[in-house]
Symmetry: C2
Subunit: 298 residues, 2 copies
């Protein structure tokens, strides 16, 4: 297989684009896809400070590197979830990339905040992934506010977003569908704009880029995410993509084109208040995270 641009040996072929690229032109392609997503969806402008949420996985570390090279004002944040060996290793991966980029990541430790995901999930009879989501969103918002950054960027790729969309569509979770845009605007000074600049790239495409760039990332999945339904949806979409290349792209990006027509109502939220514990935005007297935290206190 030869590169479509220069006829050198290709390092990747992409059936959904009916093309193949050498190392150099794949790099160009990859940066172009990120830049286009940023432009098309109005994700970022060069004046805005961006908090890049890095987990130690390939997607978020790639995102950090690409946004940094594109000249955006990035600050990375790593949240230490307190999952033993897994957390130690993923933190190490973040510091490896930080060193290469000559940047210092912000580290937020849930343990230092007095929080324990597994204990909280048990106490509230909620899945660990759900509690983890609440804690992470809290850290995103709070850190962006404290650091004066207007935007939070996460490394969700096309596979992540298409599988989430499939799950929401199969049950017509219209409140969630309304929030499946790659850009969610800021709601107040306490909630930054949220963007997903990798939505035009598949998991495989991100992995190949990470490999070619020598980005050292954690290969293991989170030990508590096993059996998640999102994995079922990803496998189904992979089967469809195999038979009909371009399905994931048409499904997720086609949805974005039609989103405005569907007049999807978000869940009624009531009046935006200030959490009496932490001062962040909340629709209750105390925000979701502080309520979880309160339940763990002795």
């Amino acid at each position: 297989m030869r590169c479509r641009m220069c006829k050198e040996r290709a390092v990747i072929s992409m059936r959904r684009h009916n093309t193949a690229f050498c190392r150099l032109h794949y790099r160009e392609f990859f940066f172009r896809q990120v830049s286009r997503a940023i432009q098309e969806f109005g994700m970022l402008n060069p004046q805005e400070g961006v908090l890049v949420c890095v987990s130690g996985g390939k997607d978020s570390l790639v995102l950090w590197k690409v946004l940094h090279e594109l000249g955006y004002k990035t600050r990375a944040m790593y949240i230490d979830l307190g999952f033993g060996e897994y957390s130690l290793l993923s933190k190490q991966k973040v510091f490896n990339t930080a060193k290469k980029l000559s940047q210092e990541p912000i580290v937020v430790s849930l343990k230092d905040m007095g929080f324990d995901i597994l204990a909280s999930a048990k106490a509230k009879h909620r899945p660990a992934c759900s509690v983890c989501g609440t804690a992470k969103r809290y850290c995103f918002n709070r850190t962006a506010f404290e650091e004066g950054l207007q935007v939070v960027a996460t490394g969700h790729n096309l596979d992540d977003e298409a599988s989430r969309l499939l799950g929401n569509v199969l049950r017509w979770q219209t409140h969630y569908l309304a929030k499946q845009s790659p850009v969610l605007p800021s709601e107040s000074e306490h909630t930054p704009k949220k963007v997903k600049p990798l939505v035009k790239l598949t998991e495989r495409e991100v992995a190949v880029f990470a490999f070619l760039e020598g980005i050292d990332y954690i290969l293991e999945e989170c030990p508590y995410a096993k059996g998640a339904t999102s994995i079922t949806y990803k496998l189904l979409l992979a089967q469809l993509e195999e038979k009909m290349p371009g399905t994931k792209h048409a499904f997720y990006l086609g949805f974005q084109e039609h989103l405005s027509k569907f007049s999807l109502a978000e869940a009624p939220k009531g009046e935006l208040k200030t959490c009496k514990v932490c001062g962040q935005d909340s629709f209750e007297e105390t925000c979701g995270f502080c309520r979880l935290l309160g339940q763990l206190s002795p």
Copy 2:
């Protein structure tokens, strides 16, 4: 496994309903599901004459029998597609059920109308299934009009409709989504109301009912439908249903609940005219079927 109602030996268990029934109570369940679909979607009233389109397959023959027993004024129509042995056999199956119901089906032969699906598909470079759809819709409309019947009923089941919906959703075919209701209203005296009373029942549930009722139906798929994408979608939905019973139902019937909110526009059609060849409704001077027919004439 025991019947939920009477504790007799069950003939079928349904995970999506978390229940099981004996022969007698399954029959009651089946009729109830058809009656509920008719009520909920306002499909039929006892005064209306119903043209039941029967292919010789299980779904349409079951539909004919059930509507007949529920007391609706049914007339069955069989379209002879001219597919050799397959058509001969399917016609025989229709006549077997007709004899049991003491009803005479209307037989429409495409060959007698001077039409040949495969020749037309070849001449127009269209898939055979697409040409067949045009021809069948023409026969439905024309026969219903000529026989003075207000409604056309087809045997599409939950699997058929959920897989079609999945295909339309994956590519956001919003014009088709707008037409994925189990009831399509009449547009003029030439286009009858179209209804699908089996949408609350799965393919398996219809097959079990056909077996228990001794309905003799053709088991073979149409020889020209092989490799249809609808089969891919059915297999995927079957995998999901296996993991999460009730998925097909939630997907298809949930969509019906939300359909009105989505403000889906049908394709702009222009003014309704009368086909100058056959006198049926058309958005062009000559209707789609007469155009295909004209192309085959010497």
